[in-house]
Symmetry: C2
Subunit: 332 residues, 2 copies
Amino acid sequence: MREVARLARVSQKTVSRVVNGEPHVSDQARDRVLRAARELGFRPNTAARALLQGRFRRIGVVSLGTALYGPASLLFALERAASAAGYSFSVVTTLNGRPAGIAEAVESLLNQGVDGIVLSEPIDEGEAAPLAPGVPILGFGRMPAVTPGTRALVTGADGVGGGLAATRHLLSQGHTTVWHVAGPGRWWAARDRMEGWRKALQEAGAPEPECIEGDWSPSSGYEAGLRLARTPGVTAVFAANDDMAIGVMRGLAEAGLAVPEQVSVVGYDDIPAAAYLSPPLTTVSQDFDAMAAHGLDLLVHQMENPEAPAPIRGEPPARLVVRRSGGPPPRP
Amino acid sequence: MREVARLARVSQKTVSRVVNGEPHVSDQARDRVLRAARELGFRPNTAARALLQGRFRRIGVVSLGTALYGPASLLFALERAASAAGYSFSVVTTLNGRPAGIAEAVESLLNQGVDGIVLSEPIDEGEAAPLAPGVPILGFGRMPAVTPGTRALVTGADGVGGGLAATRHLLSQGHTTVWHVAGPGRWWAARDRMEGWRKALQEAGAPEPECIEGDWSPSSGYEAGLRLARTPGVTAVFAANDDMAIGVMRGLAEAGLAVPEQVSVVGYDDIPAAAYLSPPLTTVSQDFDAMAAHGLDLLVHQMENPEAPAPIRGEPPARLVVRRSGGPPPRP
DNA sequence: CCGAGGTGTGACTACGTAGTCAGGCTCTGA
DNA sequence: TCAGAGCCTGACTACGTAGTCACACCTCGG
C-alpha cells in the first residue's frame, strides 16, 4: 500500500480510503490510486485488516465429511449464503466416529479466528459440549448440549414435519401402520424424523412397530429391508433418507416383495436420482438454500448484534414429493 | 499474550516461545505460562501471526457447489488431507453457469490470503483463465488455460483410465460397440472419460457411435436412455457418472428394454447406492482420499518450495467394479 | 582460574492496515 | 473582506505476534 501511495503520489492513508470506498477523496486522487494499484497488482492484506478490526468476516462450518446428499447440499447452500452476506467460508470435518469430534472441530475453527460457527449436522455427543466464548454457534435441527454462556442459536430443519408428512401419506393410502428405518440415533436429524413418524402414528391411533436403526447407508437399508421382508404384516416403510430407502427396496425385492404393489416405501431428501429409480421414490424434499439463508441470517444478526436476543422466525418447511413407491397397500 | 505474560511473571516473548513450543524455556517458566494461558482462556491471534509470517497456512478450494457424489467426496477428502497437513480449508463455489466463474472464485480466494488453491472440478471456460501471481494452483484431471507465469500443477483423476476400463469391460462381454452418455463438454473430467471410451473403441477396432452429452443429472440420463432405446443396435452404454446411468436405465426400462438382458449399462463414481440399484450397477470407483492426499502433497510441496519444479508422481488409478448391469449382450 | 559454548530471558522492533486528529484548502454568506 | 463550515489530505499510531539481538548465567575442559 505504501508503494501504491508512492506511485500515486498520495499518502498511504489516502490509498486506504480509496480501497475502502471512503468519501472525501478527490476524483483525481482516486483515479491515480486506482491506476497505481492495478499497475502494481495491489491486493489488500487480509491479516493486517483482520488484526486491526478484530474480525475476519469468516464463517466456519463443522461438517461430518460424508458425501451424503443432504449434508453436502446444505454445506454448499451455506457457502452461497455466506458469500452473499460477504463472509468467507471455512470447513472443518470431524473424523468419523471420533469422540469429542465436534468440540475439537469447533476449537479448530476458533483458532482460525472465525466470527461465527455453524454445526450443519448436529450430533449428540453426550458430554463433549462445544464451548465458544464470544462466538455464536448455529445448529441445524436441534442443538447438542452447549456449555452455559455460549451463544447458541438453533434453526429447524423441520425433520419432525417431514417425518409427519411422510408417515401421514402412507397412512392415508390405507396402511394400518408404518415401519420406520431410522438414521443413527446420535443424529438430531434422525431423532426429529423419528419423532414425526411417531407423532403421525399416534394421531392416527396406529400401533407403533419397533424401529430399525440404520446408518444412512444403502447397505444398512438393505439389511433392514431383508429383515422387514421376514416380518409378517409389513406393508409400509418410511426410511429416514433416500439411500436407505434404496437399500430397503432392494432388500424387499430380493425377498420377492414388489414395491409398491406389496410394500410401500417413502424416503427422505429427494436426491436427484429419486425420480428415476424403479419404482420412482416418494420422498421428502427440503429447500436447502432457504434453510441456509434463514440460518445464516440468524447467525449474522447475532454476530453483528452481540447483545440482542436471538430473533425467532419461521423456517422453510419440508415438503412431500409423491411418486410411485409410496402407493396404496395390497388388496387382501 | 501480554496479560498471560504478566500473570506468569515472564515477558511476552517467553509466552510466545511456550505457545510455539520453542526450546530454551525452563520447565518452571513453561509451567507458569501454560497455567496462566489456561486460566485466561488465551488463544493466539491468527491475524497477527499471519501478518508477521506472510502466510495463513490455508488452502482454498474452488468447487462448483453441486452435491454430486464425486465432487462432494473429493471436497471432503481434500479437507481431510489439508487438515492432516496442518492447513485450514476455505471453500468458494462458483455460481452455476456464471461465466468467468472460476477466475472470479480464484480472485476471491487470493483476497482471503490463501497459500495454495485447488480447482477440484476444472472446467474449460475459454478465455477466462485463472491468474494467481505467487500462489500455486492445483487442478484435478486436467487444467484450464492458465495465464503464463502462474504456477499450475496438475494431478490426474485418471478419467481416461476409468473410461478405458469401463468400455473395455463392455467390449469384453461381446458387445460390438459401446454408446457413451458423456458429461458436459466443458468439464475436463467429462472429456477424459470420453477419451478413455474412444481409445477403447479404437484399440478394439469398434465403430464409434455418436456420443450423447448429458449434464451429470439423472434427468439428462433419462432423456439419453429414451433416445438410445429408439436407436437400433444399442446393446451397451457407458454413462459418465452413476446418476446419468440411473436415468439411462430408467429410460430404457420405460421403453421396454431390460438391463442387462437387452442392454448393458456401466456408470462412473461408484456411489454408495450403486450396489443396491435394480440391477446393481457396474461402475468405476475412485479412491478420493488417495487422490486428495496425492494432489495436496504436490501442492504443499510447491507452496513450501516455490522454486522447485513440480515433482511428477504416480496417481491412484480408477478401478472397475463389476456388478450385474454391465452383463453380456443379448443372444440373437 | 579462565575462556568457550550453551541455556534462559527480555527489550525492541516490524509486519500492513485503518482510526484519530490536525491542518490547509475552497466555498459560502454576511 | 472575513468568519465559519465544509472538503481533502497526511502524519502518527495501535493492533498482537514472532524475529533479532543483547545479556546474564551456568557448565565444562584445559
